[in-house]
């Protein structure tokens, strides 16, 4: 059986949600195969596009058997040419979709209290995850953080999907003024949280990992490295992650991620928008030779 498909996805609905565009695509096959935490890669710009590379988006939700066949929902923040083009799509426009891609969030075998932390549109894949966790009897708290109110996604949906919801904004325009890491320790402590799931900017994922460790919880973080192919063939999306054997390797976040155990990620290598190869990483010695 195939575990990934490549389809012409047709837009059937598109709406603005705060600063984002929420788009529903008919994408037969993708919906049926996908699990929370996986993503899709879309072509942008149409047939004569100068933008060659696919753009990757977390799957917000899927409906394997809607009226139109399986649908896939994405939440898109317009930050550059590709996401702007996608934001301008109208009903019946189509674009090529490859997915589902990457490894989903691992679900705990036993019921355990969980917190789901979303930064900005990073909350997009968490509602679907919350559902799966609650089906397994897990308590689900959600923490949604953003710079400002319009950059929060899914606050209303969160109240339905989670047992408790906390909102933070940097500017205090909604919820607590501050960062998700300010409110997280108390939630972890109050509910005896076992697993923290997080999706959002790298800085946030690092601090969620630290806070989780301090609270005795495991962090599962979905990263967002710059990707050229999304399918594991280009080697542009790598980051240093320690394996079971303790050895750090430059692993592809598109196929070995995007979800990693937070404590395995070599956060020390990230600084100022670049990520260096740790000296102890496998194969780092050969790089120094030439």
């Amino acid at each position: 059986m195939r575990d990934v498909v490549q389809v012409d996805a047709e837009v059937i609905a598109t709406r603005r949600v705060g600063a984002y565009h929420h788009i529903t695509f008919v994408a037969p096959g993708v919906a049926e195969l996908a699990r929370p935490g996986q993503f899709v890669a879309l072509s942008v710009g149409g047939d004569s596009s100068a933008n060659l590379l696919r753009r990757c988006f977390s799957i917000h939700k899927v409906s394997p058997s809607g009226t139109y066949g399986g649908t896939v929902d994405l939440v898109i923040s317009a930050v550059g040419p590709g996401t702007e083009w996608l934001s301008g799509l109208r009903a019946h426009d189509t674009t090529s979709m490859v997915g589902p891609l990457g490894r989903p969030f691992p679900l705990p075998k036993e019921p355990v209290a969980t917190v789901l932390v979303g930064g900005g549109y990073g909350s997009a894949p968490l509602f679907w995850l919350a559902e799966a966790l609650r089906e397994r009897g897990c308590r689900v708290d959600m923490v949604l953080g953003a710079a400002t109110e319009s950059r929060l996604f899914g606050v209303v949906e969160a109240r339905r999907a989670a047992d408790g919801v906390t909102v933070t904004t940097d500017d205090g325009s909604m919820g607590h003024r501050g960062w998700v890491s300010d409110v997280l320790p108390a939630i972890i402590a109050d509910h005896g949280v076992g697993v923290v799931y997080a999706c959002g900017p790298m800085g946030m994922l690092k601090s969620v990992t630290d806070v989780a460790a301090a609270g005795g919880a495991v962090a599962q973080v979905a990263v967002e490295e710059s990707m050229a192919c999304g399918v594991g063939v280009c080697m542009t999306c790598v980051m240093p992650v320690a394996g079971n054997d303790g050895v750090t390797r430059m692993v592809r976040s598109c196929v070995e991620g995007p979800v990693f155990r937070g404590d395995r990620v070599r956060w020390d290598a990230f600084e100022g928008g670049v990520c260096r190869v740790p000296e102890d990483a496998l194969g780092a010695t050969a790089m120094r030779a030439h």
């Binding site: 490549q6 060659l52 050229a228 192919c229 080697m235 542009t236 260096r276 050969a286």
Partner: protein, 326 residues
């Protein structure tokens, strides 16, 4: 080895004594080592599968960012990340052999001697019989020469070929992969063919820089990177054209050329073939469309057939006979 025959059309091509059922390959570094694309199509259906350049030892590659998108192309600086030749043979080559793929193994070294060592390890592999040839990526920095790439200098390029040739059976095609970043690509072609190369792959990426205008610094961690994609196709066609013309003029020995650079469709592939390529590789566009290599095979075959040719080899270099000088 099977030949792709479609309705009487013979799609096969030859590469230094080795017949391939069709002329379309992956490009080194744009297809990993097969498993990832196998999810989209059967890699054994390609004329050959070209592996990511492998060196002697495992390499972590460079830090990130490793890429920048450019108009109709991209810049990359991966830094030849790879498992090293031993792990490559045990795992990747063995897997490709089990799938029945024809493998063109891309190798490199930081010194001419390292190239030879890699070739020797490859020759000794249990999976050697899956290998239809060795592509020698001389567009990598020469440790002895301030990191200037081998391919910029005819002498160092030739030395690599001589040493690699010594390690491999006489009938193994050795294909030198050339850089377009030289004043005279014909002289480099002459040097490597003179030193035992069976054929040439053209072109590797062009050296480029992209500046991140938000941070006002180079976007890639490695400062410079390699430019590829449809943006560079006209340069690839030019390189193939010039070298083929030199062969036709008797200035350099005649040898098969593998064309690569900016191929997105069968039409694009035909440009390189008509300019003189006996086979083609699909690189960057695989990132846009993971099925691209097989799609290009089908489009190219259909196109050449539709033009009334009965065999693919009839169009190789055909544009040299049809020049219309105004």
């Amino acid at each position: 080895m099977a030949t792709d025959t479609i309705g009487g059309f013979d799609a096969s091509t030859e590469l230094g004594g080795i017949r391939l059922p069709n002329p379309v390959m992956t490009a080194s570094g744009c297809a990993a080592n097969g498993k990832e694309l196998q999810r989209f199509f059967d890699v054994a259906q390609l004329g050959a599968f070209v592996t990511k350049t492998v060196m002697l030892e495992p390499r972590s590659g460079r830090g990130t960012p490793r890429m920048a998108e450019t108009p109709s192309g991209m810049l990359n600086s991966i830094g030849l990340q790879g498992p090293g030749i031993r792990a490559f043979c045990e795992q990747d080559l063995t897997w490709l052999k089990a799938r029945g793929a024809r493998v063109l193994v891309s190798i490199a070294g930081g010194t001419a001697g390292e190239f030879a060592d890699v070739a020797a390890h490859l020759r000794a592999s249990d999976a050697w019989d899956a290998v239809v040839g060795v592509e020698v990526n001389i567009s990598c920095p020469n440790v002895a020469n301030r990191g200037q790439v081998f391919a910029c200098d005819p002498t160092t390029s030739a030395k690599v070929m001589t040493l690699v040739r010594e390690q491999l059976p006489r009938d193994t095609p050795i294909i030198a992969k050339l850089s377009p970043d030289v004043t005279d690509i014909v002289s480099i072609a002459a040097a490597v063919l003179g030193a035992g190369a069976t054929g040439l792959t053209m072109i590797n990426t062009l050296l480029g820089v992209v500046i991140d205008t938000d941070l006002l610094r180079p976007q890639l961690g490695g400062l410079t990177g390699g430019l590829s994609g449809p943006a560079v196709r006209a340069v690839a066609v030019r390189a193939v054209w010039q070298v083929r013309a030199a062969m036709l003029a008797g200035q350099i020995p005649t040898a098969p050329i593998i064309g690569v650079g900016g191929i997105a469709t069968g039409r694009d592939a035909l440009e390189l073939v008509a300019a003189g390529a006996s086979a083609v590789q699909v690189g960057t566009v695989t990132f846009h469309d993971p099925s691209a290599p097989l799609r290009v095979r089908d489009e190219l075959t259909a196109l050449v057939r539709a033009k009334g040719f009965s065999q693919f080899t009839d169009v190789i270099g055909i544009a040299h006979e049809r020049i219309a000088r105004p």
